[in-house]
Symmetry: D2
Subunit: 344 residues, 4 copies
Amino acid sequence: MRVGVLTGGGDCPGINAVIRGIVRKGVQEYGYELTGFRDGWRGPMEGDVMRLDIPAVRGTLPRGGTILGSSRADPFQHGEAAVRRVRENLAKHEVDALITIGGKNTLTVAARLFEEYGVPCVGVPKTIENDLPSTDYTFGFDTAVTIATEAIDRLHTTAESHMRVLVVEVMGRHTGWIAVRSGLAGGANVVLIPEQPFDLDQVCAWVTSRFRASYAPIVVVAEGAAPVGGDPMPGDDDESEPAGPVPPSGIGEWLAREIERRTGKEARTTVLGHVQRGGTPTAADRWLATRFGLHAIDCVRDGAFGRMVALRGTDIVRVPLAEAKAPLKTVDAGLYDEVGVFFG
Amino acid sequence: MRVGVLTGGGDCPGINAVIRGIVRKGVQEYGYELTGFRDGWRGPMEGDVMRLDIPAVRGTLPRGGTILGSSRADPFQHGEAAVRRVRENLAKHEVDALITIGGKNTLTVAARLFEEYGVPCVGVPKTIENDLPSTDYTFGFDTAVTIATEAIDRLHTTAESHMRVLVVEVMGRHTGWIAVRSGLAGGANVVLIPEQPFDLDQVCAWVTSRFRASYAPIVVVAEGAAPVGGDPMPGDDDESEPAGPVPPSGIGEWLAREIERRTGKEARTTVLGHVQRGGTPTAADRWLATRFGLHAIDCVRDGAFGRMVALRGTDIVRVPLAEAKAPLKTVDAGLYDEVGVFFG
Amino acid sequence: MRVGVLTGGGDCPGINAVIRGIVRKGVQEYGYELTGFRDGWRGPMEGDVMRLDIPAVRGTLPRGGTILGSSRADPFQHGEAAVRRVRENLAKHEVDALITIGGKNTLTVAARLFEEYGVPCVGVPKTIENDLPSTDYTFGFDTAVTIATEAIDRLHTTAESHMRVLVVEVMGRHTGWIAVRSGLAGGANVVLIPEQPFDLDQVCAWVTSRFRASYAPIVVVAEGAAPVGGDPMPGDDDESEPAGPVPPSGIGEWLAREIERRTGKEARTTVLGHVQRGGTPTAADRWLATRFGLHAIDCVRDGAFGRMVALRGTDIVRVPLAEAKAPLKTVDAGLYDEVGVFFG
Amino acid sequence: MRVGVLTGGGDCPGINAVIRGIVRKGVQEYGYELTGFRDGWRGPMEGDVMRLDIPAVRGTLPRGGTILGSSRADPFQHGEAAVRRVRENLAKHEVDALITIGGKNTLTVAARLFEEYGVPCVGVPKTIENDLPSTDYTFGFDTAVTIATEAIDRLHTTAESHMRVLVVEVMGRHTGWIAVRSGLAGGANVVLIPEQPFDLDQVCAWVTSRFRASYAPIVVVAEGAAPVGGDPMPGDDDESEPAGPVPPSGIGEWLAREIERRTGKEARTTVLGHVQRGGTPTAADRWLATRFGLHAIDCVRDGAFGRMVALRGTDIVRVPLAEAKAPLKTVDAGLYDEVGVFFG
């Protein structure tokens, strides 16, 4: 039995732990050979492979990134010939099953290959933003939240001197999971998320009330958050900029300046950026990622193709791979309200 | 409406986050007055109270320990008079509901007071060892696992020089949750837990095989683990020592010496001790603890007494408080086997 | 003997450790009474004091910020009357000596009060940017470098996927100490500092050469760095913005966009901001700050007024307080060249 | 020009940073070839070498341990033939200079080879315990202190519940540098070091007085500390144990039991062990180690053999390699007294 593995999409701490789990159990318990495809779907498209044996995964558990490389390549966007090349390369390397570790786009390719061509695929959900709907959590998310929370923790020192508004921009282009979690865990006073367009007047009211309690406000804003009415920079001449609601310097910087302008209080911005995606995964992410890997190779052994591993409570379960195509899981209004008790 | 709060049992990062959640929502949304009882059940027994208003919980979110103090006091062990004093003191302080944050012993008192005397109690489960059965997780556990994992991570440097066996003793007197989680997340080569008496010959075989792979073994042992046959120190004169399987210097130190004696390899021990119980909670523990607090005060509002909050997947649910009396949740053989792929 | 203490200027981890050192030794060994003046020189100007006894400093060692509050108030900027009020308030509170913890501006006030009015002042140098010339290091600097280095460490994960330029903006308005230290410790490929105007073509050449080595470049830039020729945003209409070389969204964001434009490579920015100033001090900063406090109170005991404590090697020495008025200590060309071996 | 490099003695975070500094500057600026000898002096004795080029040091800056391996091998202990083999192997591999990174023993070999045989050696001092006399600090020390301080920080949570004595055993067989630094930085109440035999009655008096202040004591003890009068376990039958003052289970465990026995207070022990030696070096250690490497290769370029790099203030200087043979640098009584203000 030979099993292929590929990793697609953005960096996410824990991918290597998945790969290690697959390889250790696949080789030791089932006697499989493992073949890595490089750089997501580019690997099968171009036949770029690497051997995945036990020495290859040694020492990778605590390392961020992916030893297989990644890309956003999508054979279906390159036409029929690209899809055929994927199938030919899988055949050429005698791959009997393919484990795909990725987010919505990467897994959707796997789902289509399974559905339309019968390619024996198994999926492992991966997104730092925690917005895949079929699983309670994805690995990488806890790490991102931890990093953002540590940053917010440090800002409280300045907040205690009650002089400045502190704005922290965190990841979350479409969903506010990192913002809500880190905002609550860090004791932020305002949390703004893409799911709920914000009212600048309300934000400024919270900011001002916070100063009256002799404490400066900490405002956490997801990068995809936007004010009510859409465009956060109505007066801007942004012809040369990419379309969409986020100003070129980021919503955090924009928000800080608007708050300054409206409240007369100085504001400072922290933009964490890719720091949230990198470095060693937390213990919780290593646990989840490793178990995903162990269960993915069990799917292969059981011939459970067209399936994806997922977390439900404390159990790893199998769900249809097609669920990866479902709409993103958003922060619902109930949870946002629950957190809202700490605003202002 | 006046609501009492008490915290019992051992230190556990996140207790203050529970209290803060209770107070913020109780005061701001429901207009309740909150009264803290000091040092667990000693507080109601002796009428020792403190005011719990919003300033009292400011800045406590990232702090370990409990601002209310704790103890292992149990009124039922002091006879009928002690139980009566608890009820009198609750009446004297006009407490209409009592939120009890604690482990099995502390919550069992609350369950009995509710069942036998109708005291309107709500429970919040708390144990760093994650062994309460009604909830997927308890806060504090992720922090303990994180600390243990960081220690194991650092030991890999020495392990790479392939000269010494490294034994790490972690918490877990009755259950191996911290050992299993941190052992897996830290990439340990052997994990020993109380649920599974270990065979020293097997441990030494794993240790020896690891050296053959040019790498020194890291052995994680829960403090309550014991060898097959029970007493780990058969030849010892331990008359003056407390009964039971753990030698006075701890199972870790004992194990290191036995491995040295049997394999001829030097062994070194790390004993983390209370370091695992202290300091700031992780972001995940703050999230869980805060939500437990918010839902506990909702129980009070709903008159849901004799209930305990619990985590199920991503939801906070209510279960009978009496469930706190159930046997401890242990690491089952299936999960231990799953992790066992990384042994040796 | 009664000793006043005040803290001025920006946040800096370790200030509380200085205060604690002063109080513990002052009270226990010398039997002094300590009086804190609130919010830097505003305290003596307005007579705003707080008691500084041993309970007041309990638990403050690991806490960032300052329990005394801070400000940038300068009595000499408020005319003769303000200076007189300072002296009157010191007399009113029977202060026999005043320990001033601060940066260049705060200490310059102390130096002038000592020189012009004979006020018995002792100075403790404080600057996160490490640019005070009389001392090898100042506390807070190691903490800032540590935080910046941890962020850079995490970015290497993304850099290994060799797709994007990663720009990190760190503190350093006038000097590049934090940039040079964290850039070297983090393994950055380019470090830009205020002392050395940078050539964008050179920066882009380093960036491009790095990509050829199959690795994405990490560029660390001090907030006060600027390109050769001065204004980094020549085409901008910045009438409404404060004068000076830094564009409103910061040099980091500007640099990322310029690199994108010139090299065709995507660039992402991390702006750490006040995160570098907050939170718990490192062990090294606590050691230095505590020793500064212990030696400052010894200066008082010895009547060594008009002096400032300073670090020389491993010794705490006394230098003239007037040295605080000297030009800032900059990163000299020799050290920058030493570090330059790692560029590109 | 071909330059050999070897690393001897115990693990110490930062060794790889030294090697990387040597290689980057040696190759890029001076065009040297670098040859690594494996496992300390075993490498030259047995001719075991590895190529040290720029790819070999990539990614090693944040990694603990040493890519060259280490040992405590000493050719002078193996007689004249072993020393001759070292010289023959250096000749065979055409090594024009040898950079030796190590502690007292490893460097003493280099000093003798230089003095007695004219081998062109350059030394880099390395000891986690900071006890080499010719340099203000050695790399690795800051990392060890940081790890110990973080552990002590976490114990304060338990100490606040004022129930138990907490004993922390840290490294330091001959000197108390780690104990003094981490004890002060962590706010310990008692620090015991090898340089000053301790009086158990005094320790118990400090412990007891601490409880009276409603706070439990934290006792930091260096592994080599011993009570006045020498043997800490006078009644023990320790025939089968190695000679010397430390009981088999360690001074920390012994001290905890003695304190319990004498004060009637429960005591708990944390033994950090090799955790202090491993993992990623702090930013400060990476800076120092890298600069040591850069200056060591400059020594080679300048023909400054028989020299050792050292830190003096903020400068890297050159001292005679023979200084490595001097007695260890101990914590002097003055500094211990300075710290003593925080005891009790």
